[in-house]
Symmetry: C2
DNA sequence: GTCCATGCAAACTGTTTGCACGCGC
DNA sequence: GCGCGTGCAAACAGTTTGCATGGAC
């Protein structure tokens, strides 16, 4: 598993340690190819190994983010979601009705980032593109409930 | 002032009221063409009219968002920023070093949204494009501090 | 006068932190 | 065994809510 090696190497290089908990959190994120929130990661971690605290989950997520193995997303809700970095970047649409998330790709984003970096001299390290609205089913429901009101 | 009329009309239509506080919050957002956080809006509101509570600021922001006069942004930090909706959509870059924000336009985003809407049948109501990284000055500082470590 | 909106304080959610113990190296 | 990482609980920041009073219409 490549990313565990990377984790191990990075930790060693900075005098830090590869612990059971850190391995578990990374595994969970790699296996479930979804954006999980801290609470969910914590639950799954406890299922694998009784004692993992929520604080450690947060500390580990910060660490993995720093190393670049994990990305944090804010999908409109009050809390954050995390996912293992994948080879191809992708973006998110969230349905405001049912919370369903659709992932999509958009190569144009890299071009926008490149152009902005060039124009402003900034170095762009992360890009987020986030849409929200209504999925087909929820569009239908909203139409119905509007009719009910008349 | 167009948007106050819109606010007034929308409120009337749904049996709600245009209060001093609601007018103040909308004015603040219109005048300062920036993304303010709730705390800042609250401070400015108090300056104009002694008694405006933070709870009301939040309730009003939710209302203005619902009506479509105000947008909420999550610029990487833990708290939300709000700004009056402008005719032309625009997006944000935040410097991770100093917090500086650069606004930019990117017409390509609408095209991406259109294409996704068509392909998935979703109705997209809001779009966020958010970059983070380092501005020129902070890139320099990071280079320096890295050299210091060697 | 009616009923929505407000102020206040308390509750709540997600996240961070201080400290003593535990464990990777 | 040294020192980083952990668990626990308390602290914290941002936001929301219940309730009695105030104010728009």
């Amino acid at each position: 598993m490549l990313s565990e090696e990377r984790l191990n190497a990075t930790l060693h290089a900075s005098g830090r340690r590869l612990t059971r908990q850190r391995r578990i959190v990374l595994e969970i994120l790699k296996e479930s190819q979804e954006h999980l929130d801290a609470e969910t990661i914590h639950d799954q971690a406890k299922a694998r190994d009784s004692q993992v605290s929520l604080a450690t989950v947060y500390r580990t997520l910060a660490l993995l983010k720093e190393i670049g193995l994990v990305e944090e997303h804010r999908l409109g809700e009050g809390h954050a979601h995390f996912e293992a970095v994948q080879s191809s970047p992708h973006y998110h649409f969230t349905c405001l009705g049912c919370g369903r998330v659709i992932e999509f790709d958009a190569p144009q984003v890299m071009e926008v980032a490149r152009a902005l970096g060039e124009r402003e001299g900034v170095e762009i390290t992360t890009t987020h593109l986030f849409f929200s609205g209504y999925c087909p089913q929820c569009q239908q429901e909203r139409r119905n409930s509007r009719n009910d009101q008349l």
